[in-house]
Amino acid sequence: MSSLAEHPPPPPPLPGSAGRARRLAPALAALCALLALAATAEIVLDGALDHSALIPRSPAIAGWLAGIGERLGYRVFLIALLAFSAAYAVLLALAGRGALARLRPRWAIGLVGALQLIVFAGPILLSTDVFSYIAYARMGVVHGLNPYLHGPSAITGDPIYHYVGTDWKLVATAYGPLYTLLSYPLAPLGVKGALWGMKAMALLASAGTLALVWRCARLRGLDPVFALLAVGANPLYVIYGLGGAHNDLLMTFLMMAAVALTLTGRSSSTRQAWAGATVVAGALIKATGAVLLPYMVLSSDLGGHRSRRRLAPIAGAALAVLVGALAAYVAFGVHGVDIVAALNRDAAFVSTDSFPTEVAHLFGKPGVFPIDHTLLKGALAAILLYLMWLTWRGYDWVAASGWALLAIVVTSTWLLAWYTLWPLPLALVTRERRLLWAILAVQALFIVHQISPLLAPVR
């Protein structure tokens, strides 16, 4: 992160009502910050007490917080989430209008840091995915099984097995081989040790992503405080992404690292090659990260000779694919290399929160049918190609990548809250504001879709 002293000085005070509004803005921002912190603390403290419909069964890692809250139910969770979202919206509105320019960047960093640490100290929230990550690691290290061939049901005697989500017990890993290899050193630490390791990995990846968002925003002449708040204080990022210790944070970190490399090394073929390699590394965590590569290659934004400019990220990516595929083959055999098969399998899943399911319900259908999957894939391919054409014509490749990831989110029949986080950091380092508003609108719709238990609780 760049030196805080380099942040531009606050603007002079405005006369009249505009000046008063600007003077009140810090107080309003402080109130919103407190509300966001309180909502996060409420979810974490209540979640620490015991498992519930929202808190998966977990080894007791946050028992020391358990005496303060009550068991987390839908009502309290949704009220806290809505309060956090409202506070976030006001904070963004204030920061977007420059009303927080008088506040020091340390204020924003402090808020974002506090939110992350509160969630880090607490239990696993809203997802059993992290237990699957640990199960796959323990399968490989402790039991000598290939996680690309077997599901966690192959280790029913292992202590992690009981925490794996019911739907995933028979499912082999769909994550990239780099992630699986990164998770292996955590396996011998025991279930609790591995869980803390996963949480630490998610926290570090998040901190790295936020630092890179700050840096890239500055490099592109955008407001880094706004960018930091928009990502780091985002309720879905904090509660779902970090709360569930999802490996998506590691993928977004590598995506942002690739963006930073292209921005700082416009005239350096080596840096651009590293950028291509970093995108592939992200895709070896989670295959979705590969979406950035064609837009990076087609971009006319990079400096240097045109043909060499396009060759460098391709060469870097090709080398990374070669090394990654070789490592995956040695570690996991041919199944570790065949990410496409895993993607095809996952593409057939359907979740109730996905937009295609909602639209199907709107037209009186019970859900999505195989023909809908085909239509959605066609629509997605058309959008990705249009974005490639735009990028070739000079459109910002970072924005195009963000739109591509958002298109995947919207057309996917398997939508989870943390998927909406993929394009968010990219949107904050581009001048294409439509992308940010579209992502925030999608996130708002996701939150709205959760509220039926609040309006009509089932007891």
């Binding site: 937009f355 399911t357 909602e358 639209v359 319900h361 709107l362 009186g364 259908k365 019970p366 859900g367 919207v410 439509r434 579209a438 609108a441 999608v442 719709l445 709205v448 879709h449 509220i451 039926s452 238990p453 309006l455 009509a456 609780p457 089932v458 007891r459």
Partner: protein
């Protein structure tokens, strides 16, 4: 960029924004429709739970509800619960087929069947003592 080129990009921007807005509108309508639909379903489920408790004369709380997801307009639900105190599904379960409109806070019980203790998945092979519509629809193997 020439004036023509800028104008073409401006037109493209307008078309893109309109398309994005229309997609957003469709998703928003779909989301609100789904929330309203789920609220109606939740209210019906509350009535179903009350109907099961009234029919069985038991105040058991951990009931399971199976909805007819293949037919989104269907109001048919199967509600199962233990017939004696115990952990969910550990005792003999009574399953009721509940349909129709809400009348005085209850819905009609069309029929039902029993499941033996420790039955996790409600399969035809596990069901016994079918009565009412469950019997005529041959939902029990025994």
């Amino acid at each position: 960029m020439s004036g023509d080129a800028r104008g073409r990009r401006g037109d493209a921007w307008l078309i893109e924004t309109t398309v994005i807005g229309l997609i957003g509108l469709l998703l928003a309508v779909g989301t609100v429709n789904d929330v309203v639909r789920q609220v109606h379903v939740n209210r019906r489920l509350v009535v179903d739970l009350a109907t099961w408790r009234a029919y069985s004369a038991r105040d058991y709380r951990n009931l399971t509800i199976e909805q007819d997801v293949k037919h989104p307009d269907s109001t048919r639900e199967v509600v199962c619960g233990n017939t004696s105190p115990g952990a969910p599904k550990e005792r003999r379960q009574l399953c009721l087929i509940i349909t129709g409109a809400v009348v005085a806070g209850r819905r009609a019980v069309q029929g039902g069947y029993y499941l033996p203790p420790l039955t996790v998945v409600d399969r035809r092979s596990a069901r016994y003592a079918c009565f009412g519509a469950a019997k005529s629809q041959e939902l029990c193997e025994r």
